[in-house]
Amino acid sequence: MRRRTVSRTFYDALGLLIFAVMLFPIYWMVSTALKPGKEILSLTPVWFPSHVTFDNFRTAINVPFFWNDVANSLIVVLTVVGISIVLAFFAAVSVARFGFRGRTAFIVMIIAVQMVPLNALVIPVYLLLNQVGQVDSLPGVIAYYLAIVLPFMVWTLRGFVANVPVDLEEAAMVDGATRVGAFLRIVFPLVAPGLVATAIYGFIQAWNEYIIAYVLLSSNSKQTLTIWLASFTTQHGTDWGGLMAGATLTALPVVVFFLIVQRHVAGGLTAGAVKG
């Protein structure tokens, strides 16, 4: 018993150390956002802002079209996550649980698609969307993001679905549930952590993508937050304080999303449910 407490304390200490190391750049980002100009780049590092200023945040949210960008990013990201999580779950179940002709081809396709460097697709994607009149429109961007997050989501979820022991499901069928019913009732809760993780993945990918969003969206009222972040860099140099304030504001919604999702899905990442 004593040994257990000691090792728990040791692990917690280690966990806190890792937390400190991993989070140091984040601390530096937030503290930079709160620093006045002269302390931002300084020969002797300024560990704590001498007088905290919110000017950088004020500048950041007063950039023209900021609220437009927020709304557009939310529309894009929530649509992408909502649609992709459903489609990916269906496809993952299909691949993990059914033998059917073409399955191997499908698996190879979703793996191979992820090997293509996205920068190389900028021109082809632009020309495609240009032909269907979806340049400078949010649906075009949404469609593209869906296509790039889906292969990953399907593949990852497949692993989670496959990890649910088949005998569970068989037991359920013996008990008289339909196959579909069995899946929804048993598999769904068990893959919940996977759903959370892939949803966050989709959220972050769509939320942080820059080059395609920039190339496709030209109207200032149709742009997303990553383009707003790029606006802190002009040919007159970069407004570092503003950029860091912007980056802080951009990262926050993802964490909020994470906290919401992990609380509402039983057995979320932090709760570590499935254990008996």
Partner: protein
């Protein structure tokens, strides 16, 4: 009570909406197709044409003029001959491969360690650490790289200041990018830092699926913790490990921003990874055909390297399927 018991209890409570046997068979045949159809439509509909065009571009002499007039000139495999015959490109490929191996190894090792640690933490520390990891993951990539750039800055860098004041030597006015080996070490730190949250959280999510009874049974049999990990955990998580290894390989082989942004969008040749090479040829030198060819070579290498993974995945899936 274990998972199985829970699930059984829940299912017994459910109602049966079973249909007749013949409809059942048809449904079983069609169901998998119905389930994958939407995903296939989206992926193929959006990426099919661009991927075909990428392949087509790699066989064209295609500069800005050709791009603006939509009129390329077919050159067969000449673009491939050009880059593969270029010793500089072969060097770039070699660097990219070594870089990928190191980065995948280091990130998987650290991430597995953190995932195992997460399991053993007290609840508040676990929530703190996992939320912290999400925060790191959520930080927009480009400002994050800017941050690292400052931290390793020649004059203003915290790292130089810390190393000097901790007595590790004189790092005042130390340039981390003069020597590519040091430079790539910095890039590795950034890539690994960015990769850890995702890998650790996925592995932790997987660990929570390992049935507790199996672990306990092994412990009762007197297995040491590392034996439990090797004998129970790893085999159960094999599909997940497989996925994460191949994904990491794919992502680390594609590393672009960490070089491009860190070196102010004009990296010297020493720092060319294959994705940087491809982007430079396309958008800086406007040789879109060569850029596309480099991208195709990149995919080909990845296919070869991950062939084992892919075959394993396919095989595993076949075994699992009912």
């Amino acid at each position: 009570m274990g998972v199985a018991g829970d699930a059984r209890a829940r299912v017994t409570a459910g109602t049966n909406i079973e249909a007749g046997p013949s409809r059942h068979v048809i449904a079983r045949t069609l169901l998998p197709y119905v389930l994958i159809a939407p995903a296939v439509v989206v992926i193929a509909g959006v990426l099919g044409y661009p991927l075909a065009m990428l392949l087509w571009l790699s066989t064209q002499h295609y500069g800005l003029r050709e791009l603006f007039q939509h009129q390329g000139e077919f050159v067969g495999l000449a673009n491939f001959a050009t880059i593969l015959g270029d010793s500089e490109f072969r060097h770039v490929v070699l660097i990219s491969v070594v870089f990928t191996v190191v980065n995948v190894g280091v990130s998987m090792l650290i991430a597995t360690g953190i995932a195992l640690l997460l399991e053993r933490l007290s609840r508040p520390v676990r929530i703190l650490l996992s939320s912290g990891l999400v925060l790191v993951w959520a930080t927009p990539v480009i400002p994050a790289i800017n941050l690292w750039q400052w931290m390793f800055d020649y004059e203003f860098g915290v790292v130089n200041w810390l190393l000097t004041h901790l007595g590790a030597g004189n790092y005042i006015h130390h340039n981390w990018f003069e020597n590519p080996l040091q430079g790539f070490t910095v890039i590795t730190v950034i890539v690994v830092w960015g990769a850890i949250p995702f890998l650790a959280l996925m592995l932790y999510a997987g660990l929570t699926q390992v049935p507790r009874e199996l672990v306990e049974a092994a412990e009762i049999d007197g297995a040491r913790p590392w034996q439990v990990f090797a004998m129970v955990t790893v085999p159960i998580l094999r599909p997940l490990f497989l996925i994460l290894f191949s994904l990491s390989t794919i992502w680390d082989f594609q590393v672009f921003n960490q070089v491009w942004v860190l070196l102010n969008q004009r990296p010297s040749k020493d720092y060319f990874l294959i994705s940087v090479y491809s982007f430079q040829e396309s958008f800086r030198v406007s040789k879109f055909g060569l850029g596309a060819a480099a991208a195709v070579v990149m995919v080909a290498i990845l296919l070869v390297v991950t062939f084992v993974y892919v075959r394993q995945t396919v095989r595993l899936t076949t075994e699992e399927a009912v």
